[in-house]
Symmetry: C2
Subunit: 345 residues, 2 copies
């Protein structure tokens, strides 16, 4: 595995670049906006292809690099389903897998620091965001933080991992880079409590001032979505309401860009072909299956995904290679459901 821990000294944020091999797909966890160019340089140098950018939660102390990375690489942005970010490409829930080629991280919902806090687990390590820090825990006094939930997330979930599991948090301010579950169990001062009430008492009496960047970072991080209007202005978007009339028509090929887990959880538009977004490029390139479908028939290609981000990027990519019939359902399955579109489970 290729693994890089990268530090933003301004906000004390650790970001993590992961890939299974040189030349393969990569994902980045908790990227910082100001470091995006460096991440991409490293991705390029290591001969990787960034396919997912993931935030463990909506950060209050730095502006996320998710939007910029998506705009520059067309990667998929990922957060938990509870996030208040306007649009991310993909939302995860407890029990999901966060996957790229050769790697699958277990997704566990660990609310408490915020109500959209997630942790991601590999066999030998866990990315704990701001839930569990090295010799500390993330504050619980804003963004629907809840010390009682955090206690359960830490004691009920994270500390159940094997003692030797390495902990890679989203922050450190004292020069630590890594810890282990066993170490934090034994030496994290906030975890040496006898009850959830004692933990809640500690967390409710920290009396911390707000993060310096909070008033800037939180609003910015809530507006991370792709501007789908640009695609609409070119006439490449179809509203969910109008798309209802296109289902089942022989001259329309509906293409579902989501991953299998999303399809199972949220349902599929009847008759849709499944083409995961990660396979898009090879499919629309000359010689690719979708390229051939578009060229050899007069079918209109109608992409859709969860919230319209992947499909908007797919339309642009298809148009870029000359597939002029490409359109997408603006707002994705989310809009489709709100328009009472039929879904198969």
């Amino acid at each position: 595995m290729i693994f890089r821990q990268l530090f933003d000294s301004v906000s004390g944020t650790y970001s993590y670049l992961l890939a299974s091999r040189r030349g393969g797909e990569a994902l980045i966890i908790d990227p910082v906006l100001e470091k995006v160019d460096r991440y991409l340089q490293l991705v390029n140098e290591l001969d990787l292809r960034l396919v997912k950018a993931v935030d463990t939660h909506l950060h209050a102390d730095h502006i996320t690099g998710l939007g910029a990375l998506r705009d520059k690489t067309h990667c998929v942005t990922v957060m938990g389903e509870q996030t208040k970010a306007d649009v991310v490409s993909m939302r995860l829930a407890d029990g999901d897998k966060l996957g790229i080629e050769g790697l699958a991280l277990d997704v566990i919902y660990t609310p408490g620091h915020t109500d959209d806090s997630y942790s991601f687990v590999l066999p030998d390590r866990v990315f704990t965001g701001d839930t569990l820090l090295i010799r500390g825990t993330g504050r619980t006094d804003f963004q629907n933080g809840d010390p009682r939930q955090q206690y359960e997330s830490i004691f009920g979930r994270l500390l159940k991992l094997p003692d030797e599991t390495m902990i890679f948090p989203a922050h450190d301010y004292k020069g630590e880079t890594v810890s282990t579950i066993g170490e934090e169990k034994a030496f994290n001062p906030r975890l040496q409590v006898k009850s959830v009430d004692e933990y809640v008492h500690i967390m409710n009496n920290l009396n911390l001032s707000n993060p310096k960047m909070m008033d800037v970072a939180v609003p910015a991080n809530m507006r991370v979505g792709l501007h789908q209007d640009d695609i609409a202005a070119r006439g490449w978007a179809v509203s969910a309401e109008l798309a209802l009339a296109l289902v089942g028509r022989p001259d329309v090929a509906l293409i579902d860009l989501r991953e299998q887990s999303e399809r199972e959880r949220h349902g599929v538009i009847p008759g849709a072909i499944h083409l995961p977004y990660a396979r898009l490029q090879e499919n629309i390139a000359a010689g690719g299956m979708l390229h051939e479908l578009a060229k050899s028939t007069s079918k209109q290609l109608l992409f859709y995904c969860a919230f319209g981000e992947r499909s908007a990027m797919a339309v642009q990519a298809a148009q870029d290679v000359g597939i002029s019939s490409a359109r997408h359902i603006q707002g994705g399955i989310d809009a489709w459901r709100k328009a009472s579109g039929p879904l198969m489970h």
Copy 2:
């Protein structure tokens, strides 16, 4: 292996704690004075015993933690044989092994940043000090730095390591934590040169200002030695000149505390028993071999080592457990040789 990368954000220094197992011996590379308490807390939490504190070179940008760690733990301080530090317990040369229980690092002399710069190699990683940084190299414009030597150290030694070898430098200022030999070969801008002359030209035209801490750090780091005078004031020291008369006497047990590699390189005082410093505690404890020797005979114990540091600490430790006959040769083999004492090779 237990491995911890620890960051001092003030000086941008990375320090490294290594051990082969919980409960075992540990060494630390490039410790920073201000972080010593944290290192020792971690050593304690991980159930380790710090036995060596090593500087890759005499630092100009922070005060070393070597002296404080030795004073607090009685560990052995280690630097290269060229160092201008007044006294370190042990000096290494190219080709040596830097060993603790379960770990042996290859010692390579990599001058250029300073004339006392060393790198330490494990099968999968190398600690490069300020010789090779991530996407950079250490400046060569003070402390007998020499860009021509550095070119040879980097191109002739470090870059000959396997491409996948991880690089852990003594500094980073941009949030990188690790790189590899292959990566630096390909992407370190200073290494994309066609000749040593081109490298020298680059390094001689960096026009850097001196490190902020230089006027404080360099003098402090040159005075890192143990105050052997304290031991002498208690009457526990014997000068090399006086020790000459004690060799071969039946009522004196000469005890060599050095490691085998030091004995082979610098020779041994005739008749000396070999007791490596790492084995001292178990030997002087009740039931230990040396404890029994001291109690069951009237022999005076005369410790010696390389420069008198280990032997001074050994005298104190022996006195602490009631071995009142313990003395040491002040200044060690270094003083012994200057006094023309006989040495066996």
